[in-house]
């Protein structure tokens, strides 16, 4: 499955060259990423903030789609690794003037950069760039269309591991707009690679991709049934424009059927953790009581996002065999 993508993102020694997709990676590599993140998190907690690992390297945040949050964590991760950083917001830059994606890449390449962190509205964009860049440049996918958002999924896995240790006993429920979510796809792949006991999707049929069961998940149309005995609940953000596309009748109806409240959470395991990739719509997919409550690890996710991105960036910049 997707052998071409996994071949492209790995070096011949099996190490990371690009980080484009979770699909096709193996358990030991995902574990290696989490272990590396663990050491960054530990030393950061001891107040060591800066590492010289990427000194002299130039990283370009290439965002074709606006995202302050993701861009900021990548920016901070690059700085903590002592790299030089360039933020380019293409949404308002060259391509609107008619320059092709490839020309933009070629121009930046000519400035001797070492890494592109790419966010793009179209599925496969990061893969396209990785296929066309010079051989010394690494590409990190910071979200491509509805395809994958692999660094987000890794920080989610890291968060789960910090609270739950053993994946093989876990039931994980992902709730909400799966159809449009690159985060959900990456999470599903990661959870299956890490051999989670069960991955459940809870959503109305309009927000589920066609033949989604083929990804190795079980589908629940009912929130109360789906949450029963789960160890982890991941809520997805609901975009307001879904009402326009006839995916849903109203926020209110979605919220009353699929919104997470304290009461509904009672059927889950008593030590359940609640996650959300952010930004959250309070009162729509998640109640404030839950988002700010004791089960919520949402702010931890943000915190770990930095360590995980530092881990991935430094691994992708390691020389072959290094």
């Amino acid at each position: 499955m997707s052998a071409q993508i996994s071949n492209l993102q790995l070096k011949s020694d099996g190490g990371l060259r690009h980080f484009l997709a979770i699909e096709g990676l193996n358990k030991s590599l995902l574990t290696e990423i989490m272990d590396a993140a663990e050491s960054f998190a530990t030393v950061t907690e001891q107040n060591v903030k800066k590492f010289p690992l990427l000194r002299g390297k130039t990283i370009v945040n290439l965002f074709f789609e606006n995202s302050t949050r993701t861009r900021t964590t990548f920016e901070l991760a690059a700085k903590r690794l002592s790299a030089d950083l360039l933020n380019i917001n293409i949404a308002v830059s060259a391509t609107t003037k008619g320059e092709s994606l490839l020309d933009t890449i070629r121009n930046l390449e000519a400035m001797h950069v070492d890494m592109f962190v790419v966010r793009h509205a179209e599925s496969g964009a990061a893969y396209f760039i990785a296929k066309n860049v010079a051989s010394h440049i690494s590409v990190i996918n910071a979200g491509d269309g509805r395809h994958e958002h692999p660094t987000q999924a890794m920080l989610d896995m890291f968060t789960i591991r910090r609270f739950k240790k053993d994946f093989s006993t876990l039931r994980v429920a992902i709730v909400g707009d799966i159809l449009h979510s690159r985060v959900a796809r990456s999470q599903i792949y990661a959870l299956n690679i890490l051999e989670a006991r069960e991955v459940r999707l809870i959503a109305p049929k309009t927000l589920l991709p066609h033949k989604v069961e083929s990804l190795g998940v079980s589908v629940f149309p009912d929130l109360d049934e789906g949450l029963e005995d789960v160890d982890v609940v991941i809520m997805l953000r609901l975009q307001k424009e879904r009402m326009n596309g006839a995916f849903l009748p109203s926020e209110h109806e979605f919220s009353s059927c699929f919104g997470l409240t304290e009461k509904r959470l009672r059927v889950a395991k008593s030590d359940v953790i609640v996650m959300h990739p952010g930004p959250i719509n309070r009162g729509v997919e998640i109640d404030s009581q839950v988002a700010d409550g004791p089960r919520s690890v949402i702010l931890k996710q943000v915190n770990y996002g930095l360590a995980v991105r530092m881990a991935i960036m430094s691994m992708a910049m390691q020389p072959q065999g290094g």
Binding site: S2, E23, L101, G124
Partner: protein
């Protein structure tokens, strides 16, 4: 121009229109087939072509090509693409009306015809626009388009605004006995889709075009065609269920025909894995089951024609992330090898394969080409069914290099083409 007298000897003549399937000689004079077997008394050939072991058949008829002229000459031209057609064994091409300007007035038809005659490599039978500007709203001047030489009317890949407009268009075309070509696709169900809505599209997160986008459009059009009593042709099917619906309608006596592109009989959604934009086509590559259903439709003659659905592009058009690339592949020159592959795979007999490229599409259009019966135009294709060649710069004539088969071996190679009795292509061996 003086047209030469030509004798083609030693080949295996296959003319499905007349049930000819034997080792024999073919004689051509004054642009027409004059005899099979023995020439008339006093026939002396100006050119003798010996083709032992090769197949001699009518030149192929391709129901859907984009020549890109007028308007997009940076992609291809009538000149470049008719040269490619000759190399591919195709002597008659139906061009789609979505040029710039659209083929919705006689002047554009005249221009295409003039340019084609100037090159003299193949015959172009333009499909006129069904609606003005292909907007799907106002009917085109179909009577004028017919008089100018359009062989049918259709709306290319553009949607018809409402079922009422489609009904009126079918009725109006029927007034002039015009065939209506329908590329069945429900605009709303297609939405922003760019690949088949299925397991592979789901994995890659590419927006899907559901099977129902085609099947709903076929069912809807069939109901209207039956009511109106129009003559309609469904172009470039991609779903097994479409073939089943059309088969039933044909059984019920509804006057409908269908074609499929050669690549749709080989490729599936699995090919898009890896985001290769060469596989970005519309209709999208669908499932293995769809491919099997379409193959059955072709074998049972529900689908009477295999076309190229040729869409040449400049390199830049395919250099982007998958959804942002332009749609279609350059496929004139893979039409014969991909069709012959169906013979190797036991889907069709050699005679059936040639039928789907000759008299099959000729009957769809109601034209006299696609046969070697004495008296007909001498459009003749000679090919070596066993010859293997590789797609590359020196074996390829289309301006469009956008084929997923680039560099791949192809079996079945055209060696000679006569177009209206004139040799227009000869392979250098």
């Amino acid at each position: 121009m003086e047209k030469p007298r030509i004798a083609i000897k030693g080949g295996h003549i296959i003319d499905p229109a007349n049930g000819v399937d034997r080792q024999d000689s073919l004689f051509v004079a004054e642009g027409k087939i004059v005899a099979l077997g023995a020439p008339s008394d006093g026939f002396t050939a100006d050119i003798e072509i010996e083709v032992p072991g090769q197949v001699v058949c009518p030149g192929f008829i391709d129901l859907s090509v984009r020549l890109r002229e007028p308007g997009q000459e940076h992609k291809a031209t009538i000149d470049s693409e008719t040269v490619a057609a000759a190399r591919a064994g195709i002597t008659t091409l139906c061009s789609q009306p979505d040029t710039i300007p659209v083929v919705d007035e006689p002047a554009v038809v005249e221009m295409i015809k003039e340019r084609t005659q100037l090159v003299g490599k193949a015959r172009i039978l333009p499909i006129g626009a069904l609606t003005q500007g292909l907007s799907g709203e106002r009917l085109s001047e179909m009577s004028a388009l017919k008089n100018a030489g359009c062989v049918a009317v259709g709306n290319a890949s553009q949607p018809i605004a409402t079922t009422l407009v489609l009904r009126r268009a079918l009725e109006y075309a029927t007034t002039y006995g015009l065939l209506v070509v329908i590329r069945p696709e429900d605009f709303w169900l297609k939405d922003s889709g760019c690949v088949h809505e299925g397991a592979v599209g789901t994995r890659l997160g590419l927006p899907g075009i559901p099977e129902s986008a085609e099947v709903v459009a076929v069912a809807q059009a069939l109901a209207l065609v039956e009511q109106v009593g129009a003559r309609a042709h469904f172009a470039q099917l991609s779903c097994a269920r479409s073939s089943v619906l059309i088969s039933r309608a044909q059984y019920d006596g509804v006057r409908v025909s269908a074609d499929v592109s050669a690549h749709q009989l080989h490729l599936t959604e699995e090919n898009i894995d890896g985001f290769d934009p060469m596989y970005h086509v519309n209709p999208p590559l669908r499932t293995v089951e769809d491919r099997e259903g379409l193959r059955q439709g072709v074998a049972r003659n529900v689908i009477a024609a295999i076309c190229s659905d040729h869409q040449p592009h400049e390199e830049e058009a395919k250099r982007n992330s998958f959804p942002a690339t332009e749609i279609g592949m350059a496929s004139l020159e893979t039409l014969l090898p991909l069709t012959l592959q169906l013979v190797d795979e036991g889907v069709l007999t050699l005679t059936q394969a040639i039928e789907r490229l000759t008299v099959g599409p000729a009957k769809v259009l109601g034209i006299d080409f696609g046969t070697l019966i004495p008296g007909s135009a001498a459009d003749v294709c000679v090919f070596d069914p066993g010859a293997t060649w590789h797609i590359g710069r020196d074996t390829w004539s289309s301006r469009g290099l956008n084929t997923p088969y680039w560099g791949s071996p192809m079996k079945g190679r055209v060696s000679h083409i006569l177009f209206g009795g004139i040799p227009v292509f000869k392979a250098d061996i």
